[in-house]
């Protein structure tokens, strides 16, 4: 298959603080609801309680045995996968007959960092091994494959905050190269004290609600969630008469090779990734209806992104959805890809939450109001620790 062949997105699942499924999330976005609060599931000795976007307890985690001892991240991933596979019209029997791969991005979901276990270990308290066993049983891609009986390759991408975007791009490539008939691709991450403290230590967390691209932005708020896309070859989904919700047109990836935690000021890696993605699907700025930016709300990230978008995609409206979800790390790229597709379907984008005052330092600002989309193509992009940049281009599907 041609390396630039479009791949059909036939199902989407998503949950985060904004909603228990994709529809609820989109309703929240267009209603302007932002559900943030200090963390309820863990405490902290910080004098300031930094807000987070936590998934409420009343959300049901579908599609997995509640008794199984796996990490929250894996549960989130399975729940999103269950929604996506149902949405794609796949029956368990059909899935098990085909070569269906799983490619999932995460950060926390692959980290062996159980605080209780390690605290006891340090004290010489001879901790039990449940925490380690749970970690070993919770690889998100493996858990999804196990839960749904999928037979294709498994890959858990741990590319920090671009993991979800990378996982979708790589999953689509598996179909193009004929390794898989379909791929369950996305990202999942849970909130945890370790990353909460980590981002605060880096001084890039905002002690109030995040304000991506705003003149008064101070940093990010963490969130949690998962999103999964069901990817199939176009021929495959046509044969089973399943409409494509969108087409995954291309993926670009590049590294700044500049700094471990800060993006290159000239945005060189993001430019390279955008160029690669646009070239691969033969699109130009004129074809792009909107961009779902990474837009974390940190001063540096937003400056670089605004500059690059102004230079490479002038005039194209963009937004950040992190004001609705928080920064969900390894899930962020997948959640934003899901939102991008839903916005393409609705032919409108919500206001970029948290943005009210343009920053004179930024050459280009996000949309402040609900905006109609002109065009059948959109971009979702992620920047990450390590200087990773990942870009997905989606086209409208059949619906």
């Amino acid at each position: 298959m041609n390396p630039n062949t479009p791949i059909a997105v036939t199902g989407i699942g998503c949950l985060c603080a904004a909603g228990a499924n994709l529809k609820q999330c989109m309703d929240s976005l267009f209603a302007g609801r932002q559900k943030f609060a200090p963390p309820a599931r863990f405490s902290s000795s910080h004098p300031v309680r930094y807000p987070v976007f936590e998934i409420p307890d009343e959300f049901t985690f579908l599609g997995c045995d509640q008794k199984s001892d796996i990490l929250r991240t894996a549960r989130l991933a399975v729940t999103a996968a269950g929604e996506a596979l149902g949405n794609a019209g796949w029956s368990p029997a059909t899935m098990q007959e085909k070569r269906v791969g799983v490619c999932i991005g995460t950060t926390v979901g692959s980290a062996m960092n159980n605080e209780g276990f390690y605290r006891d270990f340090r004290r010489g308290c001879h901790p039990e091994m449940n925490a380690i066993t749970r970690f070993l049983n919770s690889n998100p891609a493996q858990v999804i494959a196990r839960e749904f009986g999928l037979k294709g390759p498994c890959q858990t991408v741990v590319n920090a905050c671009s993991s979800g975007t990378d996982a979708i791009g790589l999953g689509a490539a598996w179909i193009r190269s004929g390794i898989c008939d379909a791929v369950v691709a996305g990202g999942a991450d849970e909130l945890c004290r370790v990353t909460y403290n980590g981002f605060i230590s880096l001084m890039i967390a905002d002690d109030s609600i995040c304000r991506p691209f705003d003149a008064h932005r101070k940093g990010l708020n963490l969130g949690e969630g998962a999103a999964v896309l069901v990817l199939e070859s176009e021929d495959f989904c046509r044969a089973r008469k399943q409409p494509a919700r969108a087409m995954a047109l291309s993926y670009g990836s590049a590294c700044d090779a500049y700094h471990l935690t800060a993006p290159a000021p000239d945005g060189r890696g993001l430019k390279q990734a955008l160029l690669a993605a646009l070239t691969a699907c033969n699109k130009t700025a004129a074809d792009i209806g909107f961009i779902n930016a990474h837009g974390t709300g940190t001063p540096v990230n937003d400056r670089v992104e605004s500059k690059v978008l102004y230079e490479m995609l002038p005039g194209v409206p963009f937004l950040s959805t992190k004001g609705y979800t928080g920064h969900t790390l390894g899930a962020a790229g997948a959640i934003e890809a899901a939102f991008t597709i839903a916005c393409l379907e609705a032919q409108k984008i919500p206001p970029s939450a948290g943005f009210t005052t343009p920053d004179p330092e930024l050459p280009w600002s996000p949309v402040q109001h609900e905006t109609d989309v002109n065009g059948a193509t959109a971009i979702s992009q992620s920047l990450a620790f390590g200087g990773n940049n990942a870009v997905l281009v989606f086209g409208k599907g059949d619906s």
Partner: protein
């Protein structure tokens, strides 16, 4: 799919570089060290394979390495050795991707970060340790030091990390967006791993790994990195041959599809939970070898077997399986160094949950 192997770089308990690996393979002697681990209420001695990365200072000034931890140092050293071996250390790496497989990531930095919180409170968490604890820190350090601006990917799939990540590395080459991939596997030893080892497997450890004694728990923890400079097949004969196939599967759906004439390098590393899968799923009479007793047990050991396979293809010989005891598996194990029967080597790894990965290498 044919991906050319242009250079290899390896860092293990036996030392670093192809020459050290070669010496270890010829001598068959392991370099097991002993450390003291507290578990089960008492301190016991535990055998382990540990790496020394001081050779990295031969490539990079110490100052540039001051924030690079042990996990990343092993990866950076492996990648520089692979580039040096390929004669490509000085080239422009703008179109080079970095792809890393890791089972557990930067565990020492992860726990040191927790130490910083426990010692002085949440407000005193160390940002440097946090940044280095992220799984893709090693790949990021490599890209930064080499100015490699191609795609950068880290994959963590436990025992299947290497074949899974290799799948994407080879696809990026096929897609022609890049000219080369620095691909490697890296995992590090840490105190928590030592404790876990004692708790899971007991403190009476076998003095060496007996990979072919399938039912014996003889695994000895190890660490290290193994890197490859990979390019597309340009029609020439690369130094170490080609990667020709990658299979990833689960025994629930059938075992690996192994071509006749293949010599298998078994990733069996002394874990009795997965050891018995090898003789069960490998056709009787197949020629096989195992070298895990030379470098230890850790999730990305398939990358080490790939390195030995690449070296075997270059030298046109199979190194003797070290410490080999007679076994009842029905496999033909190489007790002595022998010529290759065919230029086809498969590196096979079974995970403890029945998953498997097979990476095929061919000499031409």
């Amino acid at each position: 799919m044919r991906t050319a192997i242009r250079g290899i770089g390896i860092v293990g308990g036996f030392g670093c570089g192809v020459d050290k690996l070669n010496s270890a393979l010829i001598s068959g002697e392991n370099t097991i060290q002993t450390i003291r681990v507290k578990a089960n209420g008492r301190k016991t001695e535990m055998p382990v394979f540990l790496c020394d990365t001081t050779a990295l200072e031969g490539f990079i000034h110490k100052r540039a390495l001051r924030r690079v931890d042990h996990y990343s140092s092993m990866a950076v050293l492996g990648s520089y050795l692979a580039l040096e071996d390929a004669g490509m250390l000085q080239i422009n790496h703008q179109k080079t991707a970095v792809v890393i497989a890791t089972g557990y990531g930067a565990t020492r930095a992860t726990f040191s970060f927790l130490d910083s919180i426990f010692a002085d409170g949440d407000a005193c968490a160390s940002p440097t340790l946090f940044a280095n604890s992220v799984h893709n820190a090693a790949a990021a350090h490599i890209s930064i030091l080499l100015k490699a601006s191609g795609p950068n990917l880290t994959v963590s799939q436990f025992e299947l990390s290497v074949p899974s990540a290799l799948l994407s590395a080879c696809q990026w080459l096929e897609g022609r967006q890049i000219d080369a991939v620095l691909f490697g596997g890296v995992d590090e030893y840490c105190d928590v791993l030592g404790y876990s080892w004692q708790r899971f497997f007991g403190s009476n450890q076998n003095p060496c790994i007996e990979p072919l004694n399938w039912d014996l728990q003889s695994a000895i923890a190890g660490e290290g990195s193994a890197f490859f400079l990979l390019t597309r097949d340009d029609g020439d004969q690369p130094k170490y041959g080609f990667i020709t196939d990658i299979q990833i599967g689960h025994i629930a759906n059938g075992g690996p599809d192994i071509a006749g004439g293949t010599t298998l390098f078994l990733g069996a590393d002394g874990h009795k939970l997965c050891g018995p899968l090898y003789p069960h799923y490998i056709p009787e009479g197949m020629r096989a070898a195992s070298y895990t007793s030379l470098y230890g047990s850790f999730p990305v050991n398939t990358a080490f077997d790939m390195t030995i396979a690449a070296l075997s293809l270059k030298e046109n010989k199979i190194f003797a399986t070290p410490g080999c005891r007679p076994n009842k598996s029905g496999l033909r194990i190489s007790h002595l160094e022998q010529d290759l029967e065919s230029k086809l080597i498969g590196c096979l790894k079974f995970g403890c949950n029945g998953e498997f990965g097979l990476v095929m290498l061919a000499g031409e």
